[in-house]
């Protein structure tokens, strides 16, 4: 009888431990999903803002049509990519790069830089960019937590329950963003 009780207690402890691992994995998966949708919310704000910026900029930047076309194309592709997918993350990383080029190009148009509507649009844009950066940091942090839980035993036993979230990639900036900035461009 005594042995049975001891075995029962051990079984209960093991089941309890496994259940808490399961709960942990599910919670981490849900946090990851929340983080993904957080990025999408911020991306949506940027998609809405881009046409305004392009409309104002196109009045002044007649020689930069190529950049405008690229931005418009990437925006449409990113908007049609499934929300929270790796494809959406990659397209938005490319969009970051090309928008960075636009900002550099704007430096050559002093009248555009001092335009009130543009100043307001750029202020909002900077705020949205900071929010996107914050959302990406949350996503990367949530992904680390999730990866730890599905890779470390015993919670790794439950990775089959969260298969939909496996294979999520860390956010990394686009190659074009890694190019070093030439300070001379800004000091002309």
């Amino acid at each position: 009888m005594g042995t049975l009780i001891v075995v029962g207690i051990i079984a209960l402890v093991i089941c309890g431990g496994l259940y808490s691992c399961y709960v942990g994995v599910i919670k981490n998966r849900n946090t990851l999903m929340e983080a993904k949708s957080g990025i999408d919310v911020q991306f949506k704000k940027r998609y809405d803002l881009i046409p305004n910026i392009l409309t104002i900029a196109s009045k002044f930047m007649e020689h930069e049509k190529e950049i405008f076309i690229k931005i418009t194309e990437l925006r449409s592709q990113a908007m049609s990519a499934p929300a929270g997918s790796n494809e959406s993350l990659e397209l938005n990383a490319k969009l970051d790069g090309i928008l960075g080029h636009l900002k550099v190009a704007m430096e050559n148009y002093p009248t555009l830089k001092s335009d009130t509507a543009m100043l307001q649009a750029m202020q909002t844009y900077n705020e949205v960019e900071e929010h996107i950066a914050a959302a990406r940091r949350f996503y990367n942090s949530a992904l680390t937590q999730f990866n730890n839980s599905v890779m470390i035993f015993p919670s790794s036993l439950f990775k089959g329950f969260v298969a939909d979230a496996l294979g999520s990639k860390y956010y990394e900036c686009d190659e074009s963003e890694k190019v070093s900035i030439n300070a001379g461009d800004f000091l002309k």
Binding site: E34, A35, G38, A133, N140, T144, Q145
Partner: protein, 309 residues
């Protein structure tokens, strides 16, 4: 570190403070002698009581009464002396930096409100504040309060013990960045809470920052919008530079201010020492430095700036 201009202090000290210090220095010397005499009297009285206890039973029970009276007398006299100095000079002293001084007791309810609304401390029974300095630094309005927060426990014999939760300076000011969530930055503890009421733990990417602080917020993204890597770096630098624990509350719904720094000093701030000549200019300079040390957090975190916070 911020560079404060003390040239005005020198002028005010020479013309408005120093000329009035001589009588107070005499009073201080007298006070020390009177307190020493009181302690000697109590000591002699205690010896007599101990001697008499051989002959009279129960006399030891009253032996502590003279000590209690002596301690009460000394504390009351010292406090009275310190208050006189505060009343006479502190307004002039802090005016030299363009700030205003007043008694902090009227702010105790506000401190209680901040503690309650922010959930920064698990438990507190009493809040005391005796000094309040207000003004503007780097175009940001601020209030600095010398603060003592503690709770009391009573043991089985009915003896009360005070447990200090916080002793230091509470600095309240504003940040120029839109704040859309409540954030709590606490010193890192051994046993971390997963959440504090509606605030969830925020895991940040800087391992050194995580070593010193634990962060809780009502919104994961908005909190990271405020806690940029630059902000984390700067807070960490301030913490290391001052070698003092600092906890931060960022909340829009408590007072007109939205950021509150609890800078731990573990001492009663803005006080003149009793065993040091009041004629020493350095004493007053040190009092100002206690404030400017706390204000350095505004400078270090670049709170006056919107971008790059």
């Amino acid at each position: 570190m911020a560079n404060f201009d003390y040239s005005n202090f020198d002028k005010i000290y020479e013309t408005k403070i120093y000329p009035e210090l001589a009588p107070l220095e005499e009073e201080r010397k007298k006070l020390i002698i009177q307190c020493a005499v009181a302690i000697v009297i109590v000591l002699v009285l205690s010896c007599i009581l101990v001697y008499l206890s051989q002959y009279v039973e129960k006399i030891t029970k009253v032996a502590s009464i003279p000590w209690a009276l002596a301690i009460f007398y000394v504390i009351a006299r010292v406090n009275n002396y310190k208050q006189t100095i505060k009343d006479k000079f502190y307004q002039k002293l802090f005016n030299s930096l363009g700030f205003q001084y007043s008694s902090g007791s009227s702010s105790e309810s506000m401190i209680t409100h901040i503690c309650r609304e922010s959930d920064i401390f698990n438990r507190y029974d009493f809040v005391e504040s005796d000094d309040k300095i207000t003004g503007e630094y780097k175009d940001l309005p601020f209030t600095a309060l010398d603060t003592y927060i503690y709770y009391e426990t009573t043991d089985s014999k009915g003896r009360k013990t005070q447990h200090t939760i916080f002793r230091g300076i509470l600095l309240s000011t504003r940040i120029n960045k839109p704040l859309k969530c409540d954030i709590l930055i606490k010193e890192d503890k051994l046993f971390k809470a997963g959440s504090i009421k509606d605030k969830k733990v925020v895991r940040l990417e800087d391992p050194e920052f995580e070593k010193y602080f634990e962060v809780y917020a009502t919104d994961q993204i908005e909190s990271r919008y405020i806690l940029t890597t630059a902000f984390m770096n700067r807070l960490l630098n301030y913490r290391k530079m001052k070698k003092r624990p600092v906890e931060v509350v960022l909340n829009n719904n408590i007072t007109t201010d939205n950021v509150f720094f609890f800078v731990k000093t573990n001492k009663d701030n803005f006080e003149v020492p009793i065993f040091h000549s009041i004629l020493d200019k350095q004493i007053f300079l040190n009092i100002l430095k206690e404030l400017t040390d706390a204000l350095d957090v505004i400078n270090e975190l670049k709170l006056e700036q919107n971008i790059g916070l």
